[in-house]
């Protein structure tokens, strides 16, 4: 499971271990140097969960921009006493807004596709560049990291958690964002410095955030984020649909069976 720490200690304690199969596309919880040196095969579950995760990221973006969960909460708490006037409870339109994708991998590009169907402009930044053909096909424009944060109305994170990306989205990057911008994170909680994010939200620099992942999980009800109205918080459920989880399970089991038979898993890290 993605929350299991499979580090050197664990691996060395399992003398006969030949195969590891993770039920996730993230594999930062596995010490790959150690598995490589011991000839342990490692499988993971890319592709089968791409669209479900991109769907949730988009759901979160729509929710925070149009204040869906906030409105639901308001009604259930008895706060909707009269029909709103034309100036009340206004959200933000999507069309013509720029969404910046950090990490143009499978999930990031799936997200980009949806953004375009809503008339949004899409820019991206990542570890490397896509080819010109890929950029043209996806209809997205490459920008520098600083430009991504300063030009986007919404930034959506689709990067793995590594030493390099740990705490990457910090006060300095957040300060570059437009006043009234939104941030969406369905990747890993620790790519954002959560204390800096809370400050940016409390100061009103950002209009809101939609998060499926957090620095520490589970997120408690006493977290400062859970006290804000302009954030959407979901309990790490990016790939959580019946069909997708079934497909992940099938693939994870297949990976394990193949690796135990000494073969390279269907999806090998």
């Amino acid at each position: 499971m993605p929350y299991d720490t499979i580090d050197r200690e664990v691996i060395e304690a399992a003398a006969d271990l030949r195969a590891i199969s993770t039920y996730s596309v993230g594999y930062e919880h596995i010490d790959l140097q150690c598995t490589k040196s011991r000839g342990i095969l490692v499988g993971y579950t890319p592709d089968v969960l791409t669209r479900a995760t991109a769907d949730l990221a988009f759901a979160l973006m729509l929710d925070v921009m149009r204040r869906v969960s906030e409105g639901d909460r308001l009604i259930r708490s008895g706060g909707w006493q009269q029909v709103f006037g034309p100036c009340d409870f206004l959200g933000t339109d999507l069309e013509t807004k720029t969404v910046g994708i950090l990490g143009p991998g499978r999930i990031g590009l799936s997200f980009a596709e949806k953004a375009q169907a809503f008339g949004m402009k899409v820019v991206y930044h990542g570890n490397g560049r896509l080819s010109e053909r890929q950029e043209r096909q996806a209809g997205i424009e490459h920008v520098s990291l600083n430009q991504l944060f300063s030009e986007s109305d919404i930034v959506s994170l689709h990067i793995p958690h590594t030493k390099r990306t740990h705490d990457m989205v910090n006060r300095s990057l957040l300060a570059k964002m437009k006043r009234g911008a939104f941030i969406v994170n369905t990747s890993r909680g620790r790519v954002i410095n959560q204390k800096d994010l809370v400050l940016a939200l409390q100061n009103g620099d950002l209009a809101g955030a939609a998060l499926d992942v957090f620095y520490d999980e589970p997120l408690g009800a006493d977290s400062p984020l859970a006290k804000m109205e302009n954030v959407v918080l979901t309990p790490h459920m990016g790939s959580s649909t019946k069909e997708t989880r079934e497909n992940m399970a099938r693939l994870a089991v297949l990976n394990l069976k193949m690796a135990m038979a000494g073969r390279r898993p269907k999806c090998a890290v």
């Binding site: 499971m1 993605p2 929350y3 669209r51 479900a52 769907d55 949730l56 988009f58 759901a59 729509l62 929710d63 921009m65 149009r66 204040r67 869906v68 969960s69 409105g71 639901d72 909460r73 009604i75 259930r76 008895g78 909707w80 006493q81 009269q82 029909v83 709103f84 006037g85 034309p86 100036c87 009340d88 409870f89 206004l90 959200g91 933000t92 339109d93 069309e95 949806k114 953004a115 375009q116 169907a117 809503f118 008339g119 999980e217 589970p218 997120l219 408690g220 009800a221 959407v232 918080l233 979901t234 309990p235 459920m237 959580s240 649909t241 019946k242 069909e243 989880r245 992940m248 399970a249």
Partner: protein
């Protein structure tokens, strides 16, 4: 010639009011609640033009109390609160705001569809209540995949078309039902036409984007809910009375359909003790279909321009 008098029934953004102020003395209803029937009659008494919302009943009685009235401009695309036939009979043009708010409403329809499919509001309610204790479990909070699911659009006006366009970005299989067929839209958005019962039987998601008319009143009631899949999700961004709320409550409670997402209810606001609000498998928003910027400002400006045109005797 004396300046025309305009009455605006709710506070608008200043930019929109300025448009009307160029040609008329403008009185704006300042309260948070809409004017009552009596207050509306009183203010319309000397009005040449009025800018209304869906909360204002514009009927023969009101028109009787407004002898100078020569232009009505509604800030909405729905006109079920205006007796258009009566106004036309009296030679009073009625303006409305089609087109400008279609995309915004389609955005919200998709927000509700995705929110219901993936149970975002529901899980957040649980999280904020302290429910999240186990970091990850493979079968917790399972929702439904949107990609490649079947979307049934009921009513293919501008809003329905914008929904179709957006659903295409999710690889959805889209079927529609409407009073007329639209081969051009079928080709453009890859839609299939279906008779209403067939749409209900096939769809994983049913979205209602019809106007409220005598024919669409309780369009979705017990029999229609029974035709839907037990895993189906109903989304309503049209008007509350298009759905029979008692039938919907029972269907959701008994699992006849899986979930519903409503931006509109009957009545509005929904009563705090309405049984629908006891359900976890419901997403509900306070009629915010086109409540976004810049769309709302553009809608107000269009309504203002319509009123100005009507006061000048020009087409709206």
């Amino acid at each position: 010639m004396s300046t025309a008098r305009a009455f605006v029934t709710r506070t608008l953004l200043p930019e929109a009011l300025d448009i009307i102020r160029e040609v008329a003395d403008v009185t704006v209803w300042p309260e948070e609640t809409p004017p009552s029937v009596e207050e509306l009659r009183r203010h319309c008494g000397d009005a040449d033009g009025i800018l209304t919302t869906i909360m204002d009943r514009v009927d023969a009685d009101l028109l009787d109390a407004a002898p100078r009235l020569r232009a009505i401009s509604q800030l909405a695309v729905g006109l079920d609160n205006v007796d258009v036939a009566e106004a036309t009979r009296r030679g009073i043009p009625v303006g409305y705001t089609p087109g400008v708010l279609a995309k915004s409403t389609a955005d919200l329809a998709m927000a509700l569809l995705l929110g219901a499919a993936r149970r975002t509001s529901e899980s957040e309610r649980w999280l904020r209540g302290g429910g999240w204790q186990i970091q990850f479990h493979p079968t917790h909070w399972l929702g439904q995949d949107v990609h490649e699911a079947c979307l049934g659009i009921v009513g293919l006006g501008q809003i329905g078309r914008e929904i179709a366009k957006r659903a295409g970005g999710f690889d959805m299989d889209i079927v529609y039902h409407s009073r007329t067929r639209y081969p051009d839209a079928e080709a453009e958005h890859g839609l299939r036409y279906a008779e209403f019962p067939d749409l209900l039987a096939q769809a994983d998601f049913v979205v209602l984007s019809v106007p409220l008319t005598p024919q669409t009143h309780h369009l979705i009631s017990g029999p229609q809910l029974a035709m839907m899949k037990p895993s189906a999700i109903l989304i309503n961004v049209s008007r509350g009375p298009v759905v029979d709320p008692a039938a919907l409550y029972e269907a959701l409670r008994d699992g006849q359909i899986a979930r519903a997402a409503l931006d509109v209810t009957s009545p509005e606001p929904i009563a705090v003790d309405d049984p629908l609000l006891t359900l976890d498998n419901l997403v509900i928003t306070p009629h915010i279909g086109s409540a976004a910027l810049p769309t709302r400002l553009n809608t107000m400006k269009l309504a203002a321009r319509n009123l100005v045109a009507g006061l000048k005797g020009e087409p709206m």
